[in-house]
Symmetry: C2
């Protein structure tokens, strides 16, 4: 078991638990749903990420001595609630979208079923993980589409909180990036890592030539040399003089990249280094990558913009009670009345309808209760989007760890192939497919 995650929680969840244990509503069975009312940044599709991480963090959602002592000392809850928390273990069930899946407004990304007491306390943890990771994955997928077949590496750790950086590397990889600079992401999730040298490497040496020679001595001529510490033209000339025409690559981290890339390619070719690759890494985002499509660039490194969701650092998802038992034990769908239309009561089943393999709608079948939902049977090409993640408190380990990441990345690649062409444009717009609600509540 890892460090406790139980206090990664907003205080009001424990305050509600405390009050609900007093009035007995704590034991009402409930359905909470995690979803986004809209897509981050008015994009055409979203990408679900974080699910596998959340499941592991859920295993560690236990209140140990430190956590209980804090809650007692600060009088956050009373003695009966402390006793409940000491024994807390989520015994309910969670179903949801596969990690890497695409999503649209209203998609029920997670459905959490259990007592109010056990489900209400997971709100903050679930949202923190999915909001962050999905924001990164959604931005990363657009960059990956813009890069096409050219390799794309995530190198933004320094522009994100030190733990979020590891999660961001993971989310970017799921959404199509090929590697990360973050070593912990490599160790923890099996993601390929990359990186050779910074400007400090050149500055450390008495001359640029000394720096290049030392790097090649250590890493071989297949390495990538950073050529823009002083003058790029001189840097490229020195690089090839030192390494020979078999030099693996050069990296450019400044300047007007379309111009500079073309000049460097011409210079490399003139020097006979026709196989030396050009990597660019200066403040790239999906728009800059798209603008370089016709430039002689071989690989991209993206930092700030991918780890910060390219202008939308959080996916804005919410965690809402959508159905509960009433005092008589029957089920009722519930929703905040004064909300906009994206918040809909009732338990939901979700399907992606397809026409010849291309997505046509996000079909969401709504029910007040727990009966099996079969409305999608009228859509023979509808692909069910939800899978069991936790069953009666048992986490499905297939979603966790490096294997979970690999599966999520593969699933994302498949799901992306279903996108209609209009989903690939980078401009702000409406979702690529409409969300269609079908009411399955039995008459009477």
């Amino acid at each position: 078991m890892g460090e406790s995650t139980a206090l990664l929680t907003d205080r009001y969840e424990l305050t509600m638990l405390d009050a609900a244990l007093r009035d007995g509503t704590a034991h009402r069975r409930c359905v909470f749903e995690l979803f986004g009312r809209r897509l981050p940044g008015a994009r055409r599709f979203g990408v679900v990420a974080g699910t596998g991480r959340l499941l592991s963090l859920l295993r560690d959602f236990r209140f140990g001595d430190d956590e209980l002592r804090f809650l007692r000392d600060e009088r956050v809850v009373d003695a009966a609630t402390l006793a409940f928390l000491a024994d807390y273990r989520f015994t309910g069930s969670v179903s949801g979208y596969r990690e890497g899946e695409l999503y649209f407004p209203g998609s029920p990304l997670l459905t959490i079923e259990g007592t109010f007491a056990e489900a209400v306390v997971l709100e903050t943890l679930a949202l923190s993980v999915l909001n962050h990771d999905s924001a990164v994955a959604t931005a990363a997928a657009r960059m990956s589409l813009a890069a096409g077949d050219r390799p794309l590496a995530e190198m933004g750790s320094r522009r994100a909180g030190e733990s979020s950086a590891v999660a961001a590397a993971r989310a970017a990889y799921i959404a199509g990036f090929g590697a990360t600079s973050n070593l912990e992401a490599g160790r923890r999730w099996g993601i390929p890592t990359m990186g050779t040298a910074a400007h400090s490497w050149t500055l450390l040496h008495d001359t640029e030539e000394d720096a290049f020679r030392a790097q090649i001595a250590a890493l071989g001529t297949g390495t990538t040399l950073l050529v823009d510490t002083y003058d790029i033209r001189t840097g490229v000339e020195t690089a090839i003089r030192v390494a020979g025409t078999a030099l693996g690559g050069v990296r450019i981290d400044s300047g007007d990249l379309p111009t500079v890339a073309a000049q460097v390619r011409e210079q490399l070719d003139e020097l006979g280094a026709t196989g030396t690759r050009i990597t660019v890494t200066s403040d790239l985002d999906e728009y800059a990558i798209a603008a370089l499509a016709a430039s002689p660039v071989d690989a991209y490194g993206v930092g700030t913009s991918v780890v910060t969701g390219s202008g939308t650092p959080t996916a804005g998802m919410v965690y809402k009670l959508v159905a509960r038992q009433d005092s008589g034990g029957g089920w009722v769908g519930v929703a905040k009345a004064s909300t906009d239309k994206g918040s809909k009561g009732g338990r939901k089943s979700a399907f992606r309808t397809l026409d010849a393999g291309t997505a046509t709608s996000e079909l969401i079948v709504v029910s007040d209760g727990f009966e099996e939902l079969e409305a999608a049977s009228s859509h023979p090409d509808a692909r069910p989007l939800q899978v069991p993640l936790v069953i009666d408190g048992e986490v499905d380990a297939a979603h966790e760890g490096p294997d979970g990441v690999k599966a999520a990345r593969a699933h994302h690649e498949r799901a992306r192939e279903e996108l209609p062409v209009r989903a690939l444009a980078l401009s702000r717009s409406d979702p690529a497919i409409p969300t269609v609600y079908v009411d399955a509540t039995p008459a009477g």
Copy 2:
């Protein structure tokens, strides 16, 4: 000791270390500097945050068996480098701005002195922590200024990665927020926590009245009731009927807040609940808070915008080699040539010049070497901005833990009082004071 932080590192730092151990430059003494070339979001001042966290993470920057095994298996470095890392412990010195201090373009927020080998590997960790925490603190300070004397609580955990959320709560508190919803921030850093109930609390119950009665039974009439689940007017009426006119407060989480706040205040007063406070929490940022200055609002809760830096989720600081020993043991200032003017070689000492207590400039004295810098003696009102944080590998514990947070918050409050009036405007502009460089390199 906590979990190892050693792999929260970009791979190229270890690649450079590996090559530098081979060619001997690893042992050259170096000065690295952490600074921002510009202020996040074209604001008028920045707020330094994260320093105390970084010092604690630095204690845990050790390569254990897991980390070394990964580096060996992935062939990131060779055997000699693995041996170096197994014994790694930072033995250099760090000086820097106090946490909570204001900063401006070029301010040397951290100066790291040691061998290239021991200092180069700290780049990512130092930047991750300061870039995230300072972006949040800088946004938070503006919100705190806009809120004036009204209490301000941070409740954005759900919109940030689960670990960054704890750091964000801490940064916001240092920059003037009064409380957080994040329980772990309360436990770890001693920050006051707050929160009562969500919409799910009302939806859990058969009626809003049931929910209010249960909450009051648990938390007393001094609690704050969330009144906008259904109809706000009915909610307020029910709240006062159930709680009486001694009700502590009502919270509004939707609608056009200036209008709704005025209506609710009028209704509360008509009902005789003249002491019942109004808290608003719907998508606030510094501009919305400022726009509510004339509204009858008693407290603010801010979520997304503070934890995401209100449009600028990273402070964009960099970590650069600015001076090093040459092969003869002498010191040379170094800087990337092709950079914009914000990157300046040489070791720096920083002072804030004041005129009758108001800041007039950020004075940065530049030197190639290690001699004592006394140029500020010509400015009798200059306040030195750097303090020792790590001396010969020994971290000054005064900056860590809850005591460090308390000191940082107090220092921020004092530093803010020095700001000229033009610094308080919210619009995008130039820094409130200029950065002035003075060259102290001895002639010859």
